[in-house]
Symmetry: C2
Subunit: 251 residues, 2 copies
C-alpha cells in the first residue's frame, strides 16, 4: 500500500484572499513523485481550537501530515503552541536550535520574539532551514514547515528523503483542441472500466486564444496499465478526428 498524506495550511492570509497559496501544489507534486498519496488538504485559520483539532484528526487518518505557516516570531504565529498541545507536550526551548539562531541573528538582537522560533514541542526533531535558519520540525508523523514558499520548499527537500516512499504515481496526458468532454465521455468511461488500476480524468481547458479543448489524463502506479490506457485514449481521439498531443496547450 502506498503511504498517505494530508496537508494543513495554517493562515488567515489565505482565507482572507490576500495570498494565493502555492504550497499545496508544490507539496502535492513532490509527494506524487515519492509515490505518497495526498488524501486531503485543508486551509484553516490562525485559531488554536481549529489547529489542535485538525492536527489530531488528520494525524490519526494518514501516514504523514504536513503543516505550513505560523512558525515565525510574531503574535499570530501559534502553530508550535498548538501542535505541542495536540501532542500533549510542552512547547519549550530546543537548546540546539536556540544556539544556532542566536549565532545567526547575533546575541544582541536575539530578543524574546525571535527566541520563540527556538521553541519546539518536546520530542520534536528539527528540520534544517537553510534560508533563514529558524527550523521546522517533525513530531510523530506531523511535519511542521514555514509558510514562506522558499523556506517551505527547502524544508520539504530535507523531509522527502526521510519518508517511506511508494511506487511513483505515473501520469500521461493528451491534449486535444476542439475536443469536447461530452463527445468522448462514454468511450472514456469504457476505457476507465477496462483499466480499473488507473485513474482517468477529463479536464476541459479554455485558454486566452480561445483554443478550447480537453485534457485527458491517466494516472496510476502500474506503468503498463497507464501506457495501455493512454494508448486507448489516443486511439479514441484520433478516431474522432482530433489531433492529440502531449504538451500543454499554448496560452
Amino acid at each position: 500500500m502506498s503511504p498517505t498524506a494530508a496537508i494543513i495550511v495554517i493562515g488567515n492570509e489565505i482565507l482572507s484572499g490576500r495570498t494565493q497559496d502555492i504550497n499545496i501544489n508544490h507539496i502535492a507534486q513532490k509527494l506524487a513523485i515519492a509515490g505518497i498519496k495526498l488524501k486531503e488538504a485543508r486551509i484553516i485559520p490562525d485559531d488554536r481550537h481549529v489547529i489542535i483539532n485538525t492536527v489530531n484528526k488528520l494525524r490519526a487518518a494518514v501516514d504523514y501530515v504536513f503543516t505550513t505557516g505560523g512558525i515565525g516570531p510574531t503574535h499570530d504565529d501559534i502553530t508550535s503552541d498548538c501542535v505541542a498541545e495536540a501532542f500533549g507536550v510542552p512547547n519549550e526551548i530546543h537548546p540546539e536550535s536556540f544556539k544556532l539562531l542566536e549565532h545567526y541573528i547575533g546575541a544582541e538582537n536575539f530578543n524574546e520574539a525571535r527566541q520563540r522560533m527556538a521553541y519546539l514541542p518536546r520530542g520534536a526533531k528539527p528540520i534544517a532551514n537553510p534560508v533563514s535558519i529558524a527550523p521546522g520540525y517533525v513530531i510523530g508523523n506531523v511535519y511542521v514547515m514555514a509558510g514562506v514558499p522558499q523556506i517551505m520548499q527547502a524544508m520539504l527537500d530535507n523531509i522527502i528523503p526521510t519518508l517511506r516512499h511508494g511506487k511513483p504515481i505515473l501520469s500521461k496526458s493528451w491534449y486535444a483542441y476542439q475536443a469536447s468532454e461530452g463527445k468522448v465521455a462514454k468511450d472514456l468511461e469504457a476505457i476507465q472500466k477496462k483499466f480499473p488500476q488507473t485513474d482517468i480524468g477529463s479536464y476541459p481547458f479554455y485558454n486566452e486564444s480561445k483554443q478550447n479543448g480537453v485534457a485527458l489524463v491517466v494516472k496510476g502506479q502500474d506503468q503498463q496499465a497507464v501506457e495501455n490506457a493512454a494508448q486507448d485514449i489516443y486511439n479514441l481521439l484520433v478516431n474522432m478526428g482530433y489531433q492529440p498531443h502531449e504538451g500543454e496547450p499554448q496560452k
Copy 2:
C-alpha cells in the same frame, strides 16, 4: 454576526499536483468584500464517501458552503450524485436545464453523457452558466459550481448578490523593505492587544530582487479601529527607521 462560509474543492487533479487551484483565492476575495467570513477550505478527492461526508459536515458548520468541480459530463464528475445523497434526495433530470442544454448543444449531439449535466438533486435551484450553459445550483445552503475558473467565476457572480452580506472586511497593509518580523514582533503584539477588534498579521516577503522585508496587515470590520491600528503600525515602522509604503513590493 457576519455570515460564515466554507469551500470544498473537489478534484483529484489538485491533490495530484497537476493543477494549481486558483478558485479558493477568487472566492475568498469575493466573500471578503461581501463581509462573509471564510472559515475553512478543503481540497478533497473524487471519492463518494469523502464528498458526502465533507458536504454534510461543513453545511452543518457554516452559513454557506461553496463547492467547485465535478459537475461535467464525464465518469469522474460525481459531485451531483454525492450532493444528492448528502441531502437524501434523488439526482434527477431538471426539465428546464435539460431544455436549455438541448437547445444549446443541439438535439442530435445531446447524448447521455451530456444529459448528465441536466441532472440536479431534487429541490436544487439552478445557477446560470453564461460560458457553457450547463448550470451550477444551490440546494439548502450548498452552492455547487464548476471547477473551470472562468465558469466558476461567472456562477459566483450570480450567487454573491443572493447571499446575506456582513459588514465588509476592511484591510490596510504596510510594506517595509529590510524590516524584520523579529524586530517589530513585540510592539506589534501590543498594537494587536490595543485593537482587539482587528486582526493583525505579519508576513515576511522574499522577492526575486532580494528586496526582503515584511508586510503588516490590519483587517477588521470596524473602520476606525482598522485605521487607528494601521496608523500605530505606520508610526512603529517609521520610528524604527523604515519607510513603510502601501503598495505591493516590486517583483
